[in-house]
């Protein structure tokens, strides 16, 4: 009994709830619309959202650490813009990819350094980063730039068949690798555990001798790197650079984390969560698409509603947990046994 209840308690109950929601959404979609229950519709969820899965997974580390990164969407747009501009200058795909990774990593490192070194609030620093990255993309060009680099076009259109007609693409493979690595890092590396510890209680983490400063900077650097990878994947998806790409996507990433059971207060959550969160929103989008008459804003309305639901749900769990601590010895009297020594 005890082992069963302990297996489905605390933070994984939220992930389980998300999983259940995912099944209900998918089931209702399949029941309502013909053609919804097809392999390719399912695989398209991954193809269309690969970039968001990657970015949200990076975000998850930041949130678990107890921070936030608002710059991710702008960094993705910046990467798409820089890639397009570099291709126009005749750069090769390898150089573009390396440059993208370097830009994202440096950008993230810069933000992390400011947050750690000057004890600044991550909201402010990454908000500034958000404006900065978006601004730079406008500086490169205000127009949309089409990418016709043969390698990128080839990568973008390459289909990897998984089952009969069903196919995925390179982006999905990249996203899968990123998610698996993130899960492993979170659970089995000293860095990952330090992230959880700091999110749980930063002061304690420091007193327990954990490298708090280094981990903080690394978390934002990692988020920058993940944004860059997401940026490359997104560029492959769009085959264009445009400074107005993905306005407000940072909020989608945060929403995916929350729906995926990552507590905004830090310290809790599984790295598979963001993927589940992204899939939930993806399925809602698909359902609305199949429905045909609803405006696409219904996606936002549904997600907004879901977010409220999940926040309340998480809070309830936390509140229940606070109540149910187990004392050192059960069934002890409250005060009576304290004797006054004379």
């Amino acid at each position: 009994m005890r082992s069963l209840t302990s297996k489905i308690s605390h933070n994984n109950i939220i992930v389980l709830a998300t999983l259940l929601l995912l099944l209900v959404l998918y089931g209702s979609g399949a029941a309502l619309y013909t053609g919804f229950f097809s392999l390719q519709v399912f695989l398209n969820l991954f193809i269309d959202n690969a970039y968001l899965i990657i970015v949200a997974t990076g975000m998850a580390f930041v949130i678990i650490k107890g921070g936030i990164d608002l710059s991710v969407a702008s960094v993705v747009a910046l990467i798409s813009m820089v890639s397009a501009a570099l291709f126009r200058q005749g750069a090769s795909a390898v150089i573009v990819i390396l440059a993208s990774l370097a830009i994202g990593t440096l950008f993230g490192f810069g933000q992390g350094y400011l947050i750690q070194r000057f004890r600044l609030h991550p909201w402010i620093v990454t908000l500034a980063g958000m404006f900065l990255a978006r601004g730079i993309s406008f500086m490169i060009s205000t127009e949309s730039i089409v990418i016709d680099n043969p390698t990128f076009v080839m990568l973008s259109q390459h289909k990897i068949y998984v089952w009969e007609d069903g196919f995925i693409n390179v982006s999905v493979i990249i996203a899968a690798i990123v998610v698996v690595l993130a899960i492993l890092a979170a659970r089995y590396s000293a860095f990952g555990r330090a992230v959880y510890a700091i999110g749980g209680n930063e002061k304690s983490a420091l007193l327990m001798g954990l490298p708090v400063a280094k981990t903080t900077i690394l978390v934002y650097t990692l988020s920058g790197l993940f944004s860059a990878v997401g940026g490359i994947v997104f560029t492959l998806y769009m085959l264009s650079g445009y400074s107005l790409h993905l306005m407000g996507m940072e909020m989608d990433a945060i929403a995916a984390c929350v729906i995926g059971g990552i507590l905004l207060t830090g310290g809790f959550g599984y790295l598979i969560g963001p993927t589940l969160g992204v899939l939930c929103t993806g399925i809602i989008q698909t359902i609305i698409m199949f429905q045909g008459t609803l405006s696409s804003w219904w996606t936002k309305i549904t997600i907004g509603f879901l977010l409220f639901l999940f926040m309340a749900f998480q809070r309830l769990i936390v509140m229940r947990k606070e109540k149910s601590t187990i004392p050192i010895s059960k069934n002890q009297p409250k005060f009576e046994n304290k004797v006054v020594n004379l």
Binding site: R2, S6, H10, L184, R187, Y188, S189, A190, R193, A194, Y196, A197, G199, G200, N201, K203, S204, A205, L207, M208, G209, L210, G267, F268, K321, E322, S324, T325, I326, P327, I328, S329, Q332, K334, F335, N337, K338, V339, V340, N341, L342
Partner: protein, 512 residues
């Protein structure tokens, strides 16, 4: 000295700007002993611990670990040397599992990855040693503070190299939890660990320690074998004053205003882990004193009455009306005022002017939307500057620029402006000069004469005896007695604190 000394500090001095926190303090810890570090608040206990654990760097003196001179510069360094500390508040991560809290930062690895299996097994073994049966795979927050404290000790013991420092580990534990902690401490002692135990609970010291080192005002008083030191001697070492029957300077004989109507009654008011249920009543125009060592529950009681902490048992009756619950806003509406112990942290708003500081509570009482005209505010301010003789060029000075005594007067003025019926003064004269002290004490008596009831808390017995007409004595979070009239003398109270019994005075109570 048959036992080996594992940790020795000699001639330690440490100054902070303006304060000499430690001067020429020595301390030696033997292998396999539990050594209490005692002293009143501000005696330098925590500074000494912080010097030993590398939080502060010492100015003078040396620390030897098994004969070798060390100078740890951070808690990590001290930890690496084998000195580990468990603090009053649990410094662990509640979201991680029990096992991980023991091993984080030094996880066992297998092929570069964290080996959870080994970690869980090792944790179970360690906790077994402390006779603690918990599921190490559960998050730490699943367990009570006492268990968390034990986990912190398990971690500390595993890291330590023969030395364990416990800095007030029992303050949030109840009796049975304390006794399991002591069992563990004795076991570790038998295994040869040297344990430094900081506490302010006298009974606990006598229950578990072998030797006691007493500090007072940053100076070393002495080290004693626990068995050979009586509690009375210990208290007088801590307070720094001998007492005997001839030293019977009674407080100015004050008549007890028995006639006045009872303003506030607390019936078995208590909070688990903070204060045992206490009965008290305060009459109109009466000055009631709360005496006891630091940590005896004085401030806790004041906080319960004012509603800062929620009582989980007992009743509170004000002017005959029994209140279902209490919170500060309600307390203010009922005519209560509270000047907290640490005015820097919880009292003054340093950036605001004297005027703004004074009208704060009045504004809170009136509600945020009924603005007090500036002219009226200035009037009030000037009135109290004159009445309390606050030394300042004008009411528009920043309160930060005033001396401690004058700041305290401003806080008094803040509450007086609300025309309170009961003022709770927690350490109203701490850290201010002698002249101002006398002035504030006189003010307290004057205020009481105008019909305000006052609950005064002070570590200085002299002050309490002078001001109060009746004194409740607390010890280890229990009311151990009440004194008034003839028996209200410093030595009587000291003896009560030392012996923990109702030696004198009327009794309505607990224990004994």
């Amino acid at each position: 000295m048959d036992q080996k000394i594992v940790l020795e500090a000699s001639g330690i001095s440490k100054s902070f700007p303006g304060v000499k926190a430690l001067s020429n303090v020595s301390f030696a810890l033997r292998k396999g002993e539990i050594h209490a570090l005692m002293g009143e608040n501000g005696a330098g206990k925590s500074t000494l611990i912080k010097v030993l654990t590398g939080v502060h760097e010492r100015d003078e003196g040396e620390i030897r670990l098994s004969g070798r001179v060390i100078s740890p510069k951070s808690p990590q360094e001290a930890q690496a040397l084998g000195i580990s500390t468990v603090y009053q508040e649990v410094n662990l991560c509640p979201n991680l599992t029990v096992a991980e809290n023991i091993f984080i930062g030094r996880h066992p690895r297998k092929r570069g990855l964290i080996d959870w299996e080994t970690m869980n097994r090792e944790s179970e073994r360690l906790l077994d040693r402390l006779e603690l049966d918990v599921d190490v795979r559960q998050p730490l927050s699943h367990y009570s503070v006492a268990v968390q404290q034990m986990v912190a000790i398990a971690r500390a013991v595993d890291i330590s190299n023969g030395i364990l420092i416990l800095d007030e580990p029992t303050s949030s534990l109840d009796a049975s939890e304390v006794s399991s902690l002591f069992k563990v401490m004795r076991k570790l002692k038998q295994e040869g660990l040297g344990i430094v135990f900081v506490t302010h609970f006298l009974d606990q010291v006598y229950e578990v320690t072998d030797r006691i080192t007493v500090l007072r005002n940053g100076e070393y008083v002495g080290t004693y074998e626990t068995e050979q030191l009586t509690k009375t001697e210990l208290v007088s070492h801590m307070i720094g004053r001998e007492w005997n029957e001839t030293d019977a300077k009674a407080g100015a004989a004050k008549e007890i205003p028995t006639g006045g109507e009872i303003f506030l009654t607390a019936g078995s008011l208590g909070k688990r882990g903070s204060l045992h249920p206490i009965d008290l009543h305060i009459r109109k125009g009466e000055v009631l004193g709360l005496a006891g060592l630091l940590g005896s529950g004085r401030t806790e009681l004041a906080k319960l009455i004012f509603g800062i902490d929620k009582a989980d048992e007992g009743t509170l009756t004000i002017s005959g009306e029994q209140l279902a619950d209490m919170y500060p806003q309600k307390a203010i509406q009922k005519g209560l005022g509270f000047t907290p112990e640490d005015r820097k942290v919880a009292g003054i708003v340093g950036e605001l002017t004297i005027r703004e500081n004074i009208v704060l509570a009045l504004q809170a009482r009136k509600g945020l939307f009924s603005y007090i005209p500036l002219r009226k505010q200035k009037e009030i301010t000037q009135h109290y500057i004159d009445l309390l003789r606050i030394k300042t060029p004008s009411g528009e000075q920043k309160i930060d620029n005033l001396s401690g005594g004058n700041q305290q007067k401003v806080i008094l003025a803040r509450w007086l402006a609300t025309q309170p019926k009961l003022l709770i003064l927690d350490e109203p004269t701490r850290g201010i000069d002698v002249g101002s002290k006398a002035e504030i004490r006189k003010l307290i008596l004057d205020l009481a004469a105008t019909g305000i009831s006052i609950l005064i808390i002070s570590a200085e017995l002299e002050e309490i005896v002078q001001c109060a007409s009746r004194i409740i004595v607390l010890r280890d979070r229990i009311k151990i007695g009440e004194v008034s009239g003839e028996s209200m003398r410093e030595n009587v109270i000291m003896e009560m604190i030392a012996k923990g019994a109702e030696v004198y005075g009327d009794s309505d109570g607990i224990g004994a």
